[in-house]
Symmetry: C2
């Protein structure tokens, strides 16, 4: 499904160079359930943005679904993202002038379903994350954990088979964090591909493979029995 070959993402700042991702190669089969871990600044969000087609690499090749995407233009990438990938951002990235319902509905706007069905799927996604009573609230009228859950609901609403979640439980208490992971567990059982960035071991324990980053490189990659 995903094949990164010698991927690098390098930022030039004046005379220095920051190798956010430094020559990484990685293969992911359809249906895998993976945790990406590593210290702050080790490249986790960078690699997630590359996999999620939100960013293009400085060098290397990225084959997604048998198609080379490393050098596609923005419009092509946006199309792939909307159709195929659900993404939970580390900093949520909600529209501040739209309420929770409108934010979660957004990925469905360009799909071919009726407004009624769109509303039904949106409310269901908000229900799954426990926000049925907050659908009319704007992000500024929500708690940190509620915003995170809106971001999760938005990633789930159009049933993409590839779900990328960048620290999806960082602002949630352990009970709510567990409930979210059980939703992800279920999606995995339905043969979806799930990649979660987390720095918490008890979250990683839900997955079947743990990849650890350090300074932009993969330092370990372990599959569970």
């Amino acid at each position: 499904l995903i094949k990164l070959s010698n991927i690098s993402k390098i930022y030039k700042m004046g005379l220095t160079e920051i190798r956010a991702i430094d020559g990484v190669s990685l293969e992911v089969e359809a249906g895998e359930y993976i945790a990406i871990m590593g210290p702050s600044g080790s490249g986790k969000s960078t690699i997630m943005n590359l996999i999620g087609c939100l960013d293009t690499p400085t060098s290397g090749s990225y084959i997604l679904n048998d198609m080379e995407v490393a050098h596609l233009d923005d419009d092509r990438l946006a199309e792939i993202r909307n159709k195929e990938i659900g993404f939970v951002f580390q900093t949520f990235n909600l529209l501040s002038r739209a309420n929770a319902l409108q934010n979660v509905e957004l990925p469905l706007i360009y799909s071919n379903i009726s407004a009624k069905e769109r509303r039904r799927q949106t409310l269901q996604a908000l229900e799954v994350v426990g926000l049925r009573d907050r659908v009319r609230h704007k992000p500024s009228e929500l708690s940190g954990g509620e915003r995170q859950r809106v971001a999760i609901a938005r990633a789930l609403v159009n049933n993409c088979s590839l779900l990328l979640a960048d620290e999806p439980t960082g602002n949630l208490d352990s009970k709510m964090g567990e409930e979210i992971m059980q939703v992800f567990d279920q999606l995995h059982e339905q043969e979806n591909t799930i990649i979660v960035v987390t720095h918490e071991e008890h979250i990683a324990r839900h997955t079947k493979r743990v990849i650890r980053l350090l300074d932009g490189k993969i330092i370990s990659d372990e599959r569970k029995g």
Copy 2:
């Protein structure tokens, strides 16, 4: 130091009413080290914003340092905040056009110290959180955990005796989270007052008193021996 008496924060939305904080009374002595815990949406950030003079209650009294602050105007509150309270926001609230150095330096701009001393204290705060190599980066050029650490450094830089930290380690790996808590432990030993919102038990274990919220009320308040 802090005395909240029957404090409420109520949001009216159309016909419904949300009691974010619902008749809470709380006393904090100078030098205490407190964790506030509770589920997502239980009122933790709301109570922190009230204590930190970032918000005014709908009703009730708040005495800080023998002064009633519940109904002060914005200018007076801003003055108290800048002089007396260090605040780490759950969503960091950094200036996006300023770099890490400029963001951390901000609380010192109105103090009576020389530019040279201001620079020295700012670099020291950034050193303490491990960001010496990122001082020229803007927030958009930093990882999530690096932004969180800039927010922490900014709260530490002017040595306020009251430090309020709203989920300061949510985006940090456990090793870095521990290092930050050790900085807070040291500040506590230097007789500063520290209140930390966290949903992680191992973070709360550093403190001497744990207050738990549910639906805007305090449901338990335990001091350690």
